[in-house]
């Protein structure tokens, strides 16, 4: 096992049977951006700063992979994790690991080596599934440029993009990887920053930029970009980003369907994309994402009933700030919320619920409302 891989199912890996391989990259510390720990700072900072959210997002995703990911045909075989955090070394622990792991920082050199190793795992079978998560700064340039900034971005102002990877080129190059199912989750703000206009490259190419696939299997690939503009993409200090939250909610059920008719709820690329989009819909000003190739396939099964979102509000909405909301099932209270301006967003296992809005002596309700993935709006006229 290399320094990057924190989890291995060795028997699955040795078996050569189809499996899932994941890589998770969270970049919180940028050494050479303002607030970073190393000198000299780069002039090509474009207003970008340190981030506290990516290590938390990386942890949340890794926890989900180890606790909840379920693909009976392609069980999880490896997880690689690279995290840069402002406070120094990042230690990850989980009951499935024999001991806590100090992860390698997400510098260019480390990410390059980890990605190549992850690709090699993917090459072992055309039936493999590979998952790529990145959380950190990203800069966009036009139709073809998406650059992911790593923690040593800006080490040299002679070539600041030495510390960055050209994601579009990486993605195209991954057509040459044996794994025929590939998902990319890009939790970056896509800032059209001066970095993109003042630098001449879109980052380094770490896998040969060649989309010509030499395998019989089709290349099924899906990229999920964040739709939030600027720093709104992260939003909350020391917590997973809004995108990661929307992604995990999607993976827990909001992005699921039971269209196969066998009673099993599965996560498909399209349903997940819609769920993430919806999850971010109320979190800030949007950027429109570029048209990306998103092929339909299912890659995760739920072990239990899916979770779904209920968005409860008064009609008129101004009354939210005076209403106490209650959610009940079979006469039992599930949850309640005190008056607040925003609509009440409550995540519950799919099923039928009663919703009540109470303003003083006035009490209005909606009964036996089916809450199912991805979500349902409950409007109570009060």
């Amino acid at each position: 096992m290399s320094d990057f891989v924190i989890y291995t199912d060795q028997s699955r890996l040795n078996s050569q049977l189809p499996a899932t391989h994941a890589i998770v990259i969270g970049v919180g510390e940028y050494f050479y951006l303002p607030g970073g720990s190393r000198e000299p700072k780069t002039e090509f900072h474009g207003g970008l700063r340190q981030l506290s959210s990516p290590p938390e997002s990386a942890k949340a995703i890794t926890d989900w992979l180890l606790d909840e990911f379920h693909n009976p045909d392609k069980p999880l075989a490896t997880v690689s994790l690279l995290v840069s955090e402002k406070s120094g070394e990042y230690v990850y622990s989980h009951p499935k690991l024999r001991k806590a792991v100090t992860t390698r920082p997400a510098t260019f050199e480390n990410v390059k080596n980890a990605v190549r190793q992850w690709k090699n795992f993917g090459d072992r079978s055309e039936k493999n599934l590979i998952l790529f998560f990145f959380c950190g700064h990203g800069v966009a340039k036009g139709l073809s440029g998406m650059t992911l900034l790593l923690s040593d971005y800006g080490e040299s102002d002679d070539m600041p993009m030495e510390g960055a990877i050209d994601f579009e080129a990486l993605h195209r190059g991954m057509a040459q990887c044996g794994a025929s199912e590939q998902c990319y989750f890009i939790d970056a703000c896509r800032m059209v920053s001066t970095i993109a206009t003042e630098t001449t490259t879109s980052g380094q190419t770490i896998i040969q930029d060649n989309q010509n696939r030499s395998f019989d299997s089709d290349w099924k690939t899906a990229t999920f970009y964040s739709t939030l503009a600027g720093e709104a993409a992260y939003g909350r200090k020391g917590k997973p980003s809004f995108y990661t939250e929307a992604l995990i909610n999607g993976l827990r059920g909001m992005g699921s369907n039971n269209r196969n008719g066998d009673g099993v709820w599965r996560i498909s690329t399209n349903d997940l994309s819609v769920a993430i989009h919806q999850g971010l819909a109320t979190q800030g000003e949007k950027v429109k994402i570029p048209t990306s190739h998103l092929v339909y396939f299912e890659f995760h099964e739920l072990r239990n009933d899916p979770l779904a979102l209920a968005i409860v509000y008064c009609d008129p909405k101004d009354n939210n700030s005076r209403a106490t909301f209650y959610c009940r099932q079979n006469q039992n209270e599930v949850n309640q919320r005190s008056p607040a301006e925003k609509s009440w967003e409550i995540i519950v296992p799919y099923g039928r619920y009663d919703f009540i809005a109470e303003i003083g002596n006035q009490r209005k309700q909606k009964v036996e409302e089916l809450i199912m993935p991805p979500y349902r709006e409950i409007k109570i006229e009060v």
Binding site: R172, N258, G261, T269, V287, P290, L370
Partner: protein, 458 residues
């Protein structure tokens, strides 16, 4: 018994295939069972009928995916004595204004709508003023012009096989907008928007130009095979530079052969910053498809435009070659070889004709080339078949390049994918052309469906 389901929206047009929906049956244990995916009509300005579904007595749930990614879920019950039932789903209107309803459905400026709450609150305390005054001096505002490329003898950019080369050079030269825009030749300044208020200006654009408030496109257009058809563009200039926008006009509506206008919506308080705009076609089905693509719901887009429907759009390319291109792009971009090769023989012939019959439309040739480099539509075991396919594809791709700029943004992306494929096969000419396209792609707005290029940034 019969059930008819339709969505009701506050828009002028209607569509028989308007939205994708999923129908579920609630079982006695309160679990739900998926029954089928279906397309439902959008009823806007005139009545449309929906598909009649035969269902049994029971409790049902219908879940509709809107073009902006929102989901509407409705319950309905069929009782034993009912023979006919109509289920109506009222679509929310969340746009800034009533006249932006089509954009609102696709989620454009939804955030702004939450702030303005209709007309209640302006977006800015310092409104920018009317377009007419803003366009008097582009250094203080912005100006839109129509460009008719074909008859434009003064245009250095259009008029021969080297548009892409010349546009790429123009971008590299980084001229200021005043000098750069002269390279496009004579333009027709747009004097008035179709609708306008404090925050937004709406331009309804037909092949004849910008329509006034109550005007509808009046001239009928026909396309003929192997005949040139002059393409139109929009040019925008402001103190931040200039933008060239490819127009899919005239967009001919299915069935009645009238022209659907393009709706171009500008947020005025973005003027002075990178311009925020949204574009769509006043045809609800296409508006839905563009919205679905934007939220990553390709699968639903390809279900809404089924293989049969996409093939019909392709077959009816003489009526509307732009729609034929959209249908074929969906078949190709979904990258589902099983589906797209389902009607293999028809496909090959028709897409070939889309390329050959419309020499003014580069997208057709790009799609023809993509049969090889994207769909890998050749025999893996027959080297001769591969070689023929390889050579034909490269020829088609070069034909597309020489025809000029694709109409659609995904056309440019697919054209680049093609040249990258051949460049990786060590063809130097492909590498050179890819470099030119990359210069243009760097200045292309990836969020717009119709090719939008920022050719000057000062």
């Amino acid at each position: 018994m019969n059930v008819q389901i339709k969505a009701i929206a506050a828009i002028d047009e209607s569509a028989t295939s308007g939205l994708m929906a999923q129908l579920y049956l609630e079982k006695e244990n309160k679990k739900i069972e998926f029954l089928k995916s279906l397309t439902i009509p959008i009823e806007g300005g005139y009545w449309v009928s929906g598909e009649r579904l035969q269902v049994d007595e029971g409790k049902y749930i219908i879940q509709v995916l809107l073009p902006d990614g929102q989901t509407v879920t409705n319950d309905f019950e069929i009782k034993s004595f009912e023979n006919e039932k109509e289920v109506l789903i009222y679509l929310p209107h969340e746009g800034p204004h009533e006249w932006t309803a089509l954009h609102a459905m696709a989620g454009n400026f939804r955030w702004e709508a939450q702030i303005t709450k209709g007309f209640e609150n302006p977006l800015s305390l310092n409104p920018k003023g009317k377009y007419k005054s803003l366009s008097r001096d582009f250094r203080e505002g912005y100006e839109l012009s129509l460009l008719k490329a074909d008859k434009n003898l003064r245009s250095e950019i259009f008029g021969d096989d080297y548009t892409i080369d010349k546009l790429s050079r123009l971008i590299q030269n980084n001229l200021d907008v005043k000098n750069a825009i002269e390279k496009f030749g004579a333009t027709l300044k747009i004097e008035e928007p179709t609708r306008e208020d404090t925050d937004f200006a709406m331009f309804k654009i037909a092949y004849s130009g910008v329509l006034s408030k109550h005007e509808t496109p009046s001239i009928s257009h026909r396309f003929y095979p192997r005949r040139n058809f002059p393409r139109h563009y929009l040019l925008q200039k402001s103190v931040l530079g200039g933008t060239l926008i490819s127009l899919p006009t005239p967009w001919i509506k299915p069935f009645d052969n009238g022209e659907a206008e393009m709706e171009f919506l500008v947020k005025k308080n973005s003027i002075g910053d990178p311009l925020e705009l949204a574009m769509t076609i006043n045809e609800p089905m296409i508006n839905t498809v563009l919205g679905y693509i934007n939220v990553g719901a390709f699968h639903q887009a390809t279900q809404l435009i089924s293989t049969d429907y996409a093939l019909r759009m392709l077959f009816q390319k003489i009526e509307n070659p732009f729609a034929a291109v959209v249908g074929t792009y969906l078949l190709i971009l979904e990258n589902n070889r099983e589906r797209s090769l389902l009607a293999n023989n028809y496909w090959k012939e028709w897409i070939n004709n889309l390329d050959k019959w419309f020499p003014w439309l580069p997208d057709g040739a790009v799609l023809n080339a993509a049969k090889h480099f994207w769909l890998r539509d050749y025999s893996r075991s027959d080297k001769n078949d591969f070689d023929v396919s390889f050579n034909e594809s490269f020829k088609a791709l070069n034909r597309a390049y020489e025809r000029g700029l694709p109409v659609f943004t995904f056309g440019l992306k697919l054209m680049m994918d093609g040249f990258r494929y051949f460049a990786n096969e060590k063809i130097n000419e492909a590498k050179a052309r890819l470099n030119k396209l990359e210069t243009i792609a760097d200045k292309t707005d990836p969020s717009q469906p119709f090719l939008t290029i920022n050719f000057s940034q000062r």
